[in-house]
Symmetry: C2
Subunit: 227 residues, 2 copies
DNA sequence: CAGATACGCGACAGACCCGTATCGAATCCT
DNA sequence: AGGATTCGATACGGGTCTGTCGCGTATCTG
């Protein structure tokens, strides 16, 4: 869906590229029966540098508009040619680069649903990778009308899997009786994610306090009603 | 804080410019004792058109980067000169233009705190002006690191006053006993605003359903705990 | 009326970016 | 060795945007 140049991808495209990265520069994921093409193989090092530079820029610049191919090339220490040989344009590059943020999220199994939710929420606002993910989220959602495909794919491949983790925890809570039997899972999801995402972005009122995750979960657990 | 040109502002700057807009093109808010400057007065019509075009573009383009002076001028049917005569650069223009979104929000006084919250939440996601405000919010927050002054001022002058309305309702609920005596007002605020803002931006899952505001408030009121 | 200023329009230099092309050097296979 | 391909670097034409300037016209004051 991204490469339009002559060569076949030779790139991640579904697999987990960051798994090994071991010895040889290539020869790992080669198709059995497909001969290696002649000539110098593409640099995996360049692949990684480009994707990382793209994600970093997206997170820092606060918008797709701030990511220019030239800036990516400079930051990755790579020629523009090397980028255009792999992706036809900026949007395709960003779409592929976002796959770098996919790495899923193991559902914690702690003493209680409350503890699990707190653990997830805590990671959401304090973990470094999660923070980068969140910055990219804001960058993409801000320009969502401009790049709907980008938003759709990011939502499907990065956001939803993480929401699924919370869904799982919530359903487990319903099953165990820790949560209401008639729980509105989706609305609860919006409440949790919304509060965390919004608060994490509001620099004006200072950094996210340590106990914020706890307060969110507990307020939500208990409810605000007086009875 | 914005105009650097020779002339004094002659612009809103604190007042409510959209109130009258009645007959004469000027002569309304003139200082008693200060003589009117010679020459053709600045067009109020251009003022309004520029500000409106700026806000619209900010909401539509999904980012500060998408607002160019040239686009604003074209959309407002105005020469670039007319803009540069009033504001020194894009950021100053946007800062002033956002004042157009200030109009506060009367705290509803309905039968119950729950009804008030639902009313506010409903307006938040369905009212047209509120939707534009929300789009601007996303645009600005996305590029918050790039334009911290812009975000700070927008937060202070547009967002916080509206949060204050909800704070008031929540405190009223605590006083009347409808809400818990030990309510964590700020966290509750993040939960409500976060859920609404996030959901309103997630086009991928369809438009905001009519009952979303109700579900958010009720889930929050009741809590999710099983006991 | 004359003087002062604002108006919309278009031109301009400088900056940035896109996407392509070309270069010599490097890397891989046969 | 020789052919194929990629590498980073650089240059290019074409586009958009910025902020300034000059033009002829419109509007207001005295």
């Amino acid at each position: 869906m991204s490469q339009t140049r002559e060569r076949p991808p030779a790139q991640a495209a579904g697999g987990s590229p960051g798994a090994g990265g071991s010895q040889s520069s290539t020869g790992a994921g080669r198709q059995p029966g497909a001969a290696r093409p002649p000539g110098r193989p593409r640099s995996e090092r360049a692949d990684k540098a480009i994707v990382e530079a793209t994600v970093d820029l997206l997170a820092e610049e606060g918008g797709v508009a701030g990511v220019s191919i030239e800036a990516v090339a400079a930051r990755a220490g790579v020629g523009k040619t090397t980028i255009y040989r792999r992706w036809p344009n900026k949007e395709a590059l960003i779409i592929d680069a976002l796959a770098a943020l996919k790495e899923p999220f193991p559902a914690p199994v702690g003493a209680s649903v409350r503890d699990d939710l707190v653990a997830i929420a805590q990671a959401f606002v304090s973990n470094k990778t999660d923070r980068k993910r969140l910055d990219c989220y804001w960058s993409i959602m801000g320009g969502a009308e401009r790049y709907p495909d980008l938003m759709a794919r990011f939502t499907r491949e990065v956001i939803e899997p993480r929401r699924d983790v919370i869904r799982l925890v919530l359903r487990r809570g319903v099953a165990s009786g820790e949560l209401r039997a008639d729980l509105d899972v989706e609305t609860t999801l919006w409440l949790i994610m919304g509060a965390l995402a919004q608060r994490a972005r509001a620099f004006g009122v200072g950094p996210v306090p340590d106990d914020f995750a706890t307060r969110v979960v507990d307020t939500l657990m208990t409810g605000i009603s007086g009875h």
